[in-house]
Subunit: 350 residues, 4 copies
């Protein structure tokens, strides 16, 4: 009997929430062998000392990048602040290592836009051209052959999957889309910040970045590929007092006379073979918890008062389909594995 | 020295959240003497046994309506399910008692609309005509002379105060307004319902009633008074895992060429004398907790990407300005008191 | 190649939290074939309509017990109110079906005690004698051969595993044990109850049942098997505003001169081969979330001020190791499977 | 008519939770004139810009201490880290200003103990002798005449008020008291710390400092004044996922044959004239939310299984009776005001 494929995996920046989520998913992935988890600050500390949930499941210690021998890996995930991945990617590629960046370094093709929103000069614009945007439902074939993946932002994942069928079918006014989005607090990461303290964020609700947010240009760039119309998007993020979960409420004005059944069919057809997109019955109200800790994204359509606006509700776990899970889904595609491998967790409800 | 005015107050239905919130506010109101709190189920039980927060502060016991001698009161608040107030109001009015209904019986002038949305025949349509919609900022003079107040719904309060300056100035497209609203769970009341259990509603976020909600017709009726244009409103309520607080994100397309400073001035002028409406600096992100347990409502304006859409953010405590506090504000006006009497609580933050 | 063993499983009462948790665990168990999920009220409703988290994962519909053909199953789990399992168990046993009751019907050997605490006459006291208490760490061999399992209560699991090494080694005063225990709200089940509403239980903390709780007699009966001393236990449950998780803080006075290293060794030796009990380093503070959604239970010891009292901290997920997970662990043992089969979920943190 | 007394108040360190809570309470105190709120980092920033809840209610800006002219105040509150108050107190006293320190600088009489637990040398041990421990229920007369108040810690307030009647009556074994205490997260202050992030502290429960906590020596010192027996206290703090609220579960072994009614009378007599201590009926389960945002502390007694252990349940709002409210209560006493002035808020429930 031939041995099964084992992918040697490195993680750069394993101390944040996307890092520990990657560890949770990869610890039970049947084709993954964890080789290294890097952290500048925690060199030598067993990963399970920082995250007791991993006691007995991950025996690695954090190591500084210099010791981590990432070039021996088959793939390296970057769960780091923006700017780290682009600095290390050229050397990894040269060593034959594939790269999946969970931050924004490889999401935007336009470096001017990148530099405007992230306040960083892009250090390897020539690699940007071959970087692939890691949204399998819209980009599967390119992902399979990619060496570099720019893993989508959490909000953009919901906006694109919620709008794609409408834009492709050219049935809505693309110039005045509204996405009113709500995210759990883990989306802000594991940084010590007063605004994200329990006593600030609990029992509270607020919008933020209403006048402009980094996920707008990324979403606009991708939505633009789905239609030849000019895309205008008003994106309003809000902070919800829950750990995980994202809910996007998307408003689009119909430009064609189209009935609800046809709208529903547009979505069902678009996603009928997708293992991680669930189109619920027309008029449903998906709850974020129905996707908690899983890679599922759920969509439901509404047509209030049978008017000219379609409302698309989209939910996902921001740390899984919105980040680490999607990254593993890309890895599966890149290495020829069944796309769902290691990702079939049943959502934890309640 | 002349004694100060003491208003004899009765509360029908004191066991729900709006009831206990009325009790909290009235217990320290300097011109109120609590006469009776009725409950069919809890006859004889001291109010403070059900709500230990009131121990030592409210000495009344619940009594069945028959014993409560409500006709001896100066004003009776109904903190009851829809339909109760209209049944008892005629007798109270006849006895010279004023009525403030926190439910929907006197909110809608159109009985057909009422009956469609509340599935109840209206039992005193002739009284509807004299009922006054209790939103002081838009209706102050009428409230002063009213015998019957239909206290506004929580969502409608935010939508009206967030939209009024724009509609009055006729600067937005009234036919395609969108209000994406988020409410704390206390808005659902103190009914034993599975969907409102902690283990269901916590760490979760969802929309509900997207295809149609009772607060739409109420808001439409009132907004219609502010403009001669046809008003179209898409109202999407969501449930937030927090006890109190309401956040409305309102989208309106500008029809005039108007700069941000002028927009801001519209709002500041509209509310400059209002003790309970705070217009924050342009581009602010109000948090619901900044109004917690107080009668304040805060508003902030945004103009994303300097585009043609203005975004109005409105926050309030749904149980205070969204319900019991607004009712007390109306009572103050009806009895010639300073409007802020008993309502100057500083919000509890954190 | 020989086919792997497939166990035909029925669940009686699949609409509560222990029911849906069983479904979550069993849906990915490699040796389980779900045959029936019963519900009197929801006959015909697809399970995934009530629990959208199971969409695409569980295709069964609820059925009334009469149609469910439970006698064709290999094992039936009862996730029902107390009293249901004992009524149906005799018929199931006769048909050769094994029974695992997640309620209390088969936990107590003393029917008088059962009847006092549960206010129910026991309908099959003769079966009680062969019923096995389903705590694998203390009762593994008996479970392997059992036809009827009384699955332990959530609190008793933590108290027994936290005290067993101390009682067996006879180093503490067994007559004055104190267990100050804290549970997430899901422990109260999915009943529509005012006290468990989000707006009641959130941002709040309280004790309950301080003067006496059903889990005391169960724990006393089991602890009594570990020592020949008289056992006295003061058990104080509290309600924590979180969905899942249980934390027991146990106080025991040492009767022997014993150092901390020896205490620690007592626990490490006791659990060194246990896949689901993690003895953390002396002086650790385990968090409930480090076990969330997994079958792990973690223990840490403290000796404040080097005094004569040892403090044992125990955490688990009340719905997994405290209920459904433990039941599946028992099933694995009863059917000769590897004990950890289908139970190796990495805890979801954050 | 003579003008009412106005106390000129300064606050040092107004940016933390005890600071903003002082501001909330003092903003509506009828005898207080806020003179200065200091902050080294936020000099010039309006207080209401940091805390929008105070918009329109507090018009002061933060100022650096040098500009704040604290010596012109009648009283200065220190809502600062440990060590700040003792550095500034000598100068203030000399200028005739009274000092109320909400931190620990003046809580402990024994400087060696202070230095051991707070890792700071005490800079004015000679002032310690005249400092008064600010727990009015046990120390009222001394507070009235004090120039320096060491405001009690939050946990110690509950432990002392829960144990005082038992120790004074000499009916329990003082050498083995256990206090299992639970606090909301605001007790940790408004510091940017990973462990207090929403995504860490929410949906989670843990103990901390089990092997030793600063509030032990303070409590021991004070309890020692109530009895001539040697006091031994095992104090175990826990972190609850709620913003405000503290619940202490206290266990004491009875040394006298005493019935429950007598126990209850001990407490009722001890606190019958106390405006902020509520002794609930025997066997009650006080909830933290019944004190939320108010200065009330509630106590209830239990005697499980009619055994030899009495369980005392104590709840309070850790930021009010556990900190800022208690400080204002002391101020009222020091300036000859009615003790309840400005402190009669009805708890916010729900």
């Amino acid at each position: 009997m031939q041995g099964k494929m084992m992918i040697k995996v490195g993680i750069v920046g394993g101390t944040g929430y996307t890092g520990v989520e990657l560890l949770r998913l990869l610890a039970t992935h049947p084709n993954v062998q964890l080789e290294a988890v890097t952290s500048r600050k925690e060199d030598g500390m067993p990963v399970a000392d920082m995250y007791p949930s991993l006691r007995g499941r991950v025996s690695l210690a954090f190591s500084v990048p210099e010791k981590a021998r990432l070039t021996d890996c088959d793939v390296v995930f970057f769960a780091t602040p923006h700017g780290v991945a682009m600095a290390q990617t050229p050397e990894l590629l040269e060593a034959g290592v594939k790269v999946i960046d969970l931050a924004a370094d490889f999401r935007l093709q336009d470096t001017a836009v990148f530099e405007k929103w992230y306040k960083l000069a892009h250090s390897c614009p020539e690699l940007l051209k071959e970087a692939v945007y890691g949204l399998p439902e819209l980009n599967r074939e390119a992902i399979k052959g990619a060496r570099i993946i720019g893993n989508p932002g959490c909000y953009p994942t919901t906006m694109q999957l919620g709008l794609a069928p409408l834009l492709k079918a050219d049935v809505v006014d693309a110039s005045h889309l509204i996405a009113d989005c709500k995210s759990g607090v883990s989306g802000a990461g594991r940084k010590a910040e007063v605004a994200m303290l329990f006593s600030e964020a609990s029992d509270n609700f607020k919008a933020y970045g209403v006048s402009g947010h980094r996920h707008s240009p990324e979403t606009l760039e991708q939505l633009g590929k789905l239609t030849d119309k000019k895309v205008g998007l008003l994106f309003t993020p809000h902070l919800v007092p829950m750990i995980r979960g994202m809910h996007s409420t998307i408003y689009a004005r119909l430009t064609k006379d189209i009935d609800n059944a046809t709208l529903q069919t547009l979505f069902e057809d678009a996603y009928k073979n997708e293992p991680f997109v669930d189109v619920m019955p027309f008029g449903s109200h998906p709850e974020t918890r129905s996707t908690r800790s899983s890679n599922m994204l759920r969509i439901a359509l509404h047509r209030p008062n049978d008017g000219d606006t379609v409302v698309v509700l989209v939910v996902q776990d921001n740390l899984v389909k919105g980040s680490a899970g999607q990254a593993v889904q890309c890895m599966n595609l890149m290495f020829g594995l069944e796309e769902t491998t290691g990702l079939m967790h049943v959502p934890v409800l309640p």
